[in-house]
Structure formats: C-alpha cells, structure tokens
C-alpha cells in the first residue's frame, strides 16, 4: 500500500539504532527464519524476481535476475560470495548512510538472505572509510548476529553456513564500480575488469559473486515477509517498491524521504524539499547523483523511477537529486563535476584519463574567461568519444551525462562565458 515505509520505519534519527533484541521485537530476522525454514534458495530468488526489485545503486538491474545468473547445483564452482556495496561515493548521494547508521541489522538480514539465495559461504560488506559511525554500528550488528546464530555454522539449525566480514576501504570512487570493487577486495588497485565474464560467474578470486547495493538488500527481508505483490503495490509505477529519495542544494528542506517508487519530481521538490529557498530560483537538477543528465523545468512532472526518467534522457540513478539554483554558475557546476571524474578516473582506459582532463581544462578556461569558441564543439565531441562502448566501465560515460546535458540545457550560459570572456556569476 502506498504510504508504507518499510525500509526506514524502524529508524529514529535522534536515537541509536535497534540492537539485535530490539530489531527482533520489531519483527526483525523473521524473514531470515522464513527463508531458511521454508523456502529453497531458488524460491527466494524467484520471489525477489517476481517483486520487480531493481538495483538501487543506480544502474537499476533486476536483482532476482542477477542472482539467477549464479551457477548452482552440485557441480557449480565454490566458494561463492555475496558482496554488499556500501561504498556510496557518488557525489550528491547520502541514502545508504541513513540505512547503515539507522538500522544496520536490516541490511545484515538482507545480506544473509541474499547470500542464502545464491548459496554463498562468505559475505563482505565493502564500506567507505568516511562512514565511521556506520562502521562501528555494522561491526556491532555483525557480532550480535553471530552471537544469536544468524551467522556462522548451521544458521538457525538449517545446515546453511555463512561468514560475514566488514571491509573498510581506503577510498576511491572506482571502488563503487562492481568489478573495481572486487579488485579492491582482493587487495589490488580498483581498476575495472573486462566484462564478460560477469561477476556472477567469475568474480572475487574467479568465483561466482553477487554484488548488491545496501538499499537493494534492505528491501529483501520485506519482500520475503510480505510477498512480491505487496512490494509491487508499494509503488506508483511498474518499478516496484519504495525508494529513498533525497535532495541537496538551495532547497528549503534538504533531506531524505522514503516514498512510493514513481513519485513525481515536482512533488519531491515542492512538497518534501519545500521548494527553493527564499531568493533562489530553480535552474535544473541532477536526478540521481553526479553521473546523471541534467533535467530542467520542463521535466518536473516526470515520475521518478528507472524507466520514466530514462525516457526523458536521463537516469534516476541513486534518486538523490542535486538542485542547481540561479545564483550558482552552470559552467562552474559542470567544471566541478568534471574535475571529480577526472580526479577519480583510475587511468586504465585512454579516453577516460586523457579525455576527462582535457574536458576539465576547457571548462576551467571557460570559467576563467579564457574559453574559445571551438571548445563547445570539442566538448560535445568528447561526449561521444567518452560515451558508452569506448571504456571498460561506466565512469567516463557517467561523466559525460551531466556534461552533454549541460551543454544543451545551459547553452546560452556557456556561450556567454566565451563571448564576455568572464564568468557572469563572479564579481568583476
């Protein structure tokens, strides 16, 4: 039913998270009991598949389908791994932090059920270093889960064994990319791997591995408890479930809200974020993190879900919106985004390490009043050359999404920088 908030219902921002006992009293670990007690791994996967759950890390790949690619049965390779992607380094994204800090047992339970579905024997939580509070709370939750028999040997008497370890990263955006993350877990540079093979067949140390985002896994216990149809019914569109939406920038109430999937952008912006702050006007927004295309005023009535945002030329991504106001320079913002991607590029593919630096250089010159007429075409050409299909991973194509959409949406602002040989937002 719309209006329910299964993922955040147990979170009280002014209180520490529930411990294992509190979580159990609030209905926690019931889904794990149910899965281990009465469902086969294939039935769990099927239920998640029917729920239409799609990956909340940004790419939106069907979760149940991802799990179904893992080879199962007597002859299947072992061990198998489940990895929780808790790296959350996408600029403008702060949703997984809330789930990790606010209800760590929910994520742990989701990860155990996911691991059971693919019969993994080891699970890793890959957490970014900066999430210090989350690290402490996860460590505690994992220890409690071991004590209470939800982890370790013969979980709840089912014969299923699982170990879970927390891996705290040393920081690099590339670690969020699933194959880069696997290299980092192996103690290497987080360069991406060539796909195929996909991690589901050949991942960590060459063994079958599933990598899922935190928010995705937090949905799993609720799906197991309440069923696929219930989950679909939470949504306002065919992409099932609720979604943690957020907004940052010059809005009245920046924050996070768990709402039905498919809530229109205007509703998020006006009702939940409270509209623009006094004295600021809306210019545009990135719907779900730094690597999504800008949307403008004309897109505000779009429903925020994977399919609908894609139809208007962007991506929902992580669903945490970054709002550009009229007192901030679109060229400056694009330069900031491009600087981020250029800095975080791992340098593995030529278009990415060379191209991004060149783009950053041109944008910097433009902002400093030294931009040349031909830069606009040159930047547009980069958007093609660094686009999908030319690199091992999605970093460069992701970087091109805000760049190419900014060139279209804020064309006049770019031209003005070149014509006037200055940034109109900077005092002379």
């Amino acid at each position: 039913m719309p209006g329910e908030t299964p993922l955040t219902g147990r979170i009280r921002p002014d209180r520490p998270p529930l411990d294992a006992v509190g979580y159990e009293q609030a209905g926690g670990y019931q889904a794990l009991r149910k899965a281990l007690g009465s469902l086969t791994p294939a039935e769990v996967t099927q239920q998640v598949r029917s729920s239409t759950l799609r990956g909340r890390g940004g790419a939106g790949f069907a979760t149940g389908q991802k799990w179904s690619f893992v080879p199962m049965g007597e002859d299947a390779p072992r061990p198998r791994y489940l990895v929780v992607n808790a790296d959350e380094m996408e600029p403008g994204t702060f949703k997984d932090r809330l789930l990790l800090e606010g209800d760590p047992h929910q994520m742990v339970e989701g990860a155990i059920i996911a691991a059971y579905a693919v019969q993994a024997s080891v699970a890793y939580i890959f957490l970014r270093w900066a999430y210090r509070v989350a690290a402490r709370r996860l460590e505690k939750a994992i220890a409690e889960a071991y004590e209470r028999g939800y982890l370790g040997r013969n979980i709840l008497g089912s014969g299923y064994d699982l170990d879970m370890h927390l891996h705290v990263s040393a920081g690099r955006y590339m670690c969020g990319e699933e194959t880069g993350l696997l290299n980092a877990l192996e103690g290497k540079r987080a360069n991406p791997r060539s796909k195929p093979p996909y991690p589901q067949t050949s991942g960590l140390w060459g063994k079958p591995t599933v990598v899922n985002n935190v928010e995705t896994l937090c949905c799993v216990p609720h799906i197991v408890n309440n069923g696929a149809d219930w989950f679909k019914g939470l949504s306002r569109t065919p992409n099932g479930g609720t979604k943690l939406y957020g907004a940052s920038g010059r809005v009245r109430r920046p924050g996070l809200w768990e709402l039905p999937m498919g809530t229109p952008i205007r509703e998020l912006l006006e009702e939940h974020a409270g509209g623009m702050r006094e004295g600021y006007r809306f210019r545009g927004l990135l719907p779900g993190g730094a690597s999504t295309d800008f949307l403008g005023e004309q897109h505000l009535d779009v429903a925020m879900d994977f399919d609908t945002v894609q139809k208007v030329g962007s991506r929902m991504g992580t669903g945490t919106m970054i709002i550009l106001d009229d007192r901030s320079c679109p060229v400056g913002m694009t330069r900031n985004l491009t600087h981020f991607f250029a800095q975080e590029s791992c340098g593995w593919c030529t278009p990415c390490w060379g191209g991004l630096r060149w783009c950053e250089q041109m944008l910097s010159e433009m902002e400093e009043g030294r931009g040349r007429e031909e830069y606009l075409d040159r930047l547009a050409a980069h958007a093609g050359m660094l686009g999908p299909g030319h690199t091992y991973c999605a970093l460069a194509p992701g970087a091109m999404e805000p760049l190419q959409s900014a060139l279209t949406l804020f064309r006049e602002d770019f031209e003005r920088h070149i014509r006037e040989r200055r940034c109109p937002w900077r005092s002379p």
Binding site: P91, G92, A130, A170, G171, R250, P254, M333, N336, C346
Partner: protein, 154 residues
C-alpha cells in the same frame, strides 16, 4: 620493523580472505593508524610480511585517497569539494581554512598540527558543506564556525 601490535592486527585479518595479499590495504591502514603515514620502510616491511613485491604494494598504496605516503600533521582535515558542497559554500570555506591555517590544499601547518586535504563527497549532502577532522564529521559548516571546530584538535 612492524611492531608486535601492528603484526597482530594485520594477521587477524588474514583468515577473512582467500589470499593473504587481500589484506594489504587493511595492513597499510593499520600502519598508518600507528604512525600517521606509510614510509618507504614501513611499505617494505608490510610487503615482506604479505609476500608481495614493494612495487606491487606501492601501486596499491598510491591508488587510494586515504593512504598517506608522505608525513602528515597530527590532525587531518578533509574538506568535501564535491558538487553539493560546492553549491552550498565550499569555496568560502576552503578560502577561510587556507587563510586561517596558512596552508594550501595538500599542505601541513608549520607546527605540524593540521594537514588540509580535499575529499570527494562525504555523503552529508543534506547538511552541506561538510568537513571531517580525523574521524569526526562536521556538517552545515560556515566559515565562522571554523575557529570553534579547530580548537578541539590540539
């Protein structure tokens, strides 16, 4: 030489992974926790302990943002320079920090008290701009708050 405490902390991680080289990032963090940074000598010792070549380990050490291969101050200030903080006043904050500490990004104050470093999005975008000092996150930071914040770190 790795200290006994360092070696124990590193070895405790080894059973969690299929290959012991996988703990090298954690090992660098362990060394850094005790010494502040990773010197050539420490790098050499960790590499030997994990049966890696020094070059292999240095390739890893230099890849990650939070492994320091140069000496740093007693406290690390990480200032988020990503997009939401940029929109919400990162520029003014950075200027005031540089002015107040007398250092540019990447430098350490003359008294060895602070090192100032940029960091990518801290995931505190609804309370931008944000900085971290050591392990503490500070949110909604205005330039005028800086004196009171820094005072806490001697």
């Amino acid at each position: 030489m790795l200290s006994e405490t360092e070696r124990q902390a590193i070895d405790a991680e080894i059973p969690h992974y299929a290959r012991k080289q996988a703990v090298c990032i954690e090992a660098l963090k362990v060394v850094q926790r005790h010494r502040g940074w990773v010197s050539d000598e420490a790098l050499h010792d960790v590499a030997g302990h994990l049966e890696m070549t020094v070059d292999e380990l240095d390739a890893v050490a230099t890849f990650y943002n939070l492994i320091f291969r140069e000496p740093v101050g007693r406290h690390i200030i990480l200032i988020c320079d990503s997009v939401s903080c940029w929109l919400m006043g990162y520029g003014a904050l950075r200027e005031r920090l540089s002015e107040r500490l007398g250092v540019e990004m990447g430098q350490t104050t003359a008294d060895g008290r602070f090192t100032l470093l940029p960091i990518v999005c801290l995931g505190a975008c609804d309370h931008a701009p944000a900085i971290m000092v050591d392990e503490d996150l500070h949110r909604d930071v205005a330039p005028d708050h800086l004196d009171a914040i820094l005072e806490r770190y001697e």
